[in-house]
Amino acid sequence: MRVIGRSVPRLEDEPLLKGEGRFIDDIRLPGMLEAAFVRSPHAHAAIRGIDKTAALALPGVHAVYSRADLMPHLATEFMAVGLPSASYKQDLNRPALAGDEAVHVGQALAIVVADDRYIAEDAAALVEVDYEPLAAASDCRAALSAGAPTAHRKSPHNLLAEFDMAYGGVDAAFARAAHVFRESLWQHRGGGHSIECRGAVAMHDAPQDKLTLWSSTQMPHAAQRLLCDMLGRDENQVRVITPDVGGGFGPKLVFYPEDVVTALAAILVGRPVKWIEDRLEHFVATTQERDQYWDVEVAVDRDARLLGIRGTMVHDHGAYTARGVNLPYNSAENAPLGYELPAYRMNVKVALTNKVPVTPVRGAGHPQGVFVMERLLDRVAHELKLDRAEVRRRNLVPGEKMPYKTKLKARGGLTIELDSGDFPKCQHEALGLAGWNDFPPRKSAAEREGRHIGIGLANFVKGTGRGPFESVTVRIGPSGKVHVYSGAAAMGQSTKTMLAQVVAEQLGADLGNITVTAGDTGVISMGLGGSNSRQTVMAGASAHAAASKVRDKALKVASHTLEVSHGDLEIEGREIRVKGSDVKLDLGRAARSVAGTAGYSLPAGMAPGLEATEHVVIDAMAYTNGTAVAEVEVDVETGAVRIAKLVLVHDCGRILHPVIVEGQLMGGIAHGIGNALYEWMRYDENAQPITSTLADYLLVTAPAMPPVELGHQESPTPLNALGVKGVGECGVVPIAAAVCSAIEDALSPYNVRITRTPITPADIVELIQNGS
């Protein structure tokens, strides 16, 4: 391996470091106008009327459009995006603009187009909306009780979906269990809060009726499809391009009302229109994760072996379906993963509330499943007076049993089979790095000094590389440059470098000779984009396959031209060379020789071009795993938690670029710490956001990060030629569980149980006061 496995310099870095990135707000087009949206300040209200007169009269305002203005130009009004599921009881899709009802604070009901954003905001404030406030559904559990206000006036109730995930005879398992323990857990995850908010720039070429939308999105092809559906145009008329994206983390994979409305505004106004989301909008108009309430029981035998887990979970869906029920599905599905659990039943109720819709944020429901299992295992250990690591050892799927067929099904119906990995070995390494066995005497010594330290661990398994495919085209041009095009989408996770590495491995190992274009529907017809930690697996697999094909072709051409056998050739830099000699053929010359000359046949048996497009289909997911061990110190007087050290041993299969993998893990860990201690998107009982700025909603800063030690195991997956698994989300997944376990350990003198995330200093003080 010449470039794969090495931490090569990133293709992305130089322009970004010099401030030459081209993010959505950096795009300037001649005649471009700027937009602002009029948004509901009410969580639930009837909209009786919209008066645009004052807004339209403001100098510099070009248009104000509400639903009525857009309807004649919309082939369909609603975004039908929900991932298929038999569990839906209601179809609640987002409209382009709210019509006669607003169902969450921040819902857009009109767009103002003006000379600049300053004027657009002035005008938006002048749009007079006659609201009749209605009762709002706020708490997702209360929303499901009889007589609760419905999030939508026309809905009979707030149950959006319900499903059971079950296998094995769970009630029988509980009936014969030596021990049964129950936990009620509240888990909250908040928003994505990429440092760059959302944005879109739309340009319509009227004579040709071609629309171009630049969008800070993770899924340009899905956006293209929805624009075509909603605007009644075909794929040839709509192009979606992702510029540089300043972080995605999940919420940018969603297609939003602002995207289609900005596009339509550009068409109607006849000039390019730019809309850039500001941070206040991000809090109320971009999807987020929120609350899950779990009520669960675990049954174990007298040796702490799991017999069954059963319970219920209520998930806050928000006011509309902006992605599906995949998030609670992932949570329910993830809880048992990695352990041998003979029986399971989780009833999941997905509740509508008058809040912005919920869709996955980095981790996508898996951290919640892990938290449930790991809290239950800690409970078992505590009650049976066993070491927490030992309880896990007794229940982890052993390495010898891999690949391990579970009794769970992924959302597409495939049985979940854990492809590779050695979970006990991973846990063992993590415990070693963390000094788990040396901790008890350290804890006692600290206690004598009046300090409270604790240690906790959590294991996780997460499906990555969600299929079915990602498209990649590899082409060697007459210039000799290697061009890569993909339906993958970059958002900071080094997609371009990854693709370049995979391709360069086959075609000369010179990353400077590779160009990568990703996230543009105009250069590749199909794509699924960035989510589910999928792109290294899916785009990597297709890039490898396409580059291998192009390599074969190139060697065939060189073999013919240089009159040597295939096996005597290698590709080095921009040349195909005869091994151990100076005889060579430039890649560009090779490309030209199969580009064709009018009237002349191509060389014998050659197909035209040095190009290949691949959509490698892999339906089964590749399961990444890891173990996190956290050491904390708690100031029991203030409740402050300091994470003294964090260890994460991780297995993402074959590592293509060690430094990038570590960067992904560190970023995920930071996010996990945010979920454990800081990030809480709070609403009041009227579904009004309480934390509405970054001063109230706390993101992790540099001093809050602990020293982290990373360890790696590499269990290549048999599911793709490279043996790679995804890593993008994995750092997040075990952190809240490990940190809460450590806090609980630190507070062992106080008989405190941690059953919620985030856990704040004030919560800890209250728990200590109530517990002792």
Binding site: D13, G19, D25, Y118, G663, M666, G668, T693, L694, M705
Partner: protein, 159 residues
């Protein structure tokens, strides 16, 4: 009282004259009037630090200054870091070597914060670096790459 003012600002060593609305922020002036889009806007309420530039050598959140307040001042943005003849500033090089950036959106703000910091503290400890960038939010990196880059850059700049 007019809604615009004429200002004269030195930006990255070059004198720039413009007539600007009095409410135009410095960040928007740099980005949209001068087309120096390296400085980014992330929150517009003084928390994320993505808009950090130097004003008379001191790091400032440009979203919290009006363009008219920059009249007569010297502004330095990320575009001034790389040497005119090519290559990268040692700080930029260190970021590249230590994977100190992923999406790159917070990066210019972090770089400008570190330029001032390293001019005040040539041999910082890790804790001091973390404190120095405590007003810059990064959602991608978990900060480790940034810290490693800053410590390495400090060494290079001392050499």
């Amino acid at each position: 009282m007019s809604a615009s003012r004429a200002i004269s600002v030195t930006v990255n060593g070059a004198r720039r004259e413009a007539e600007v609305p009095v409410r135009l922020t410095l960040a928007d002036f740099l980005r949209h009037r001068l087309e120096l889009t390296g400085t980014h806007v992330g929150c517009e309420h003084g928390v994320c630090g993505a808009c950090t530039v130097l004003v008379d050598g001191r790091s400032v959140r440009s979203c919290l200054m009006l363009a008219v307040q920059a009249n007569g001042r010297e502004i330095t943005t990320v575009e001034a870091l790389a040497p005119a003849g090519g290559g990268l500033h040692p700080l930029q090089q260190a970021f590249r070597d230590h994977h100190g950036l992923q999406c790159g959106f917070c990066t210019p703000g972090v770089l400008m914060t570190l330029v001032e910091f390293l001019s005040l503290n040539e041999s910082p400890s890790e804790a001091q670096v973390r404190e120095a960038i405590s007003g810059n939010l990064c959602r991608c990196t978990g900060y480790q790459g940034i810290v490693d880059a800053a410590l390495d850059a400090a060494k290079r700049l001392r050499a």
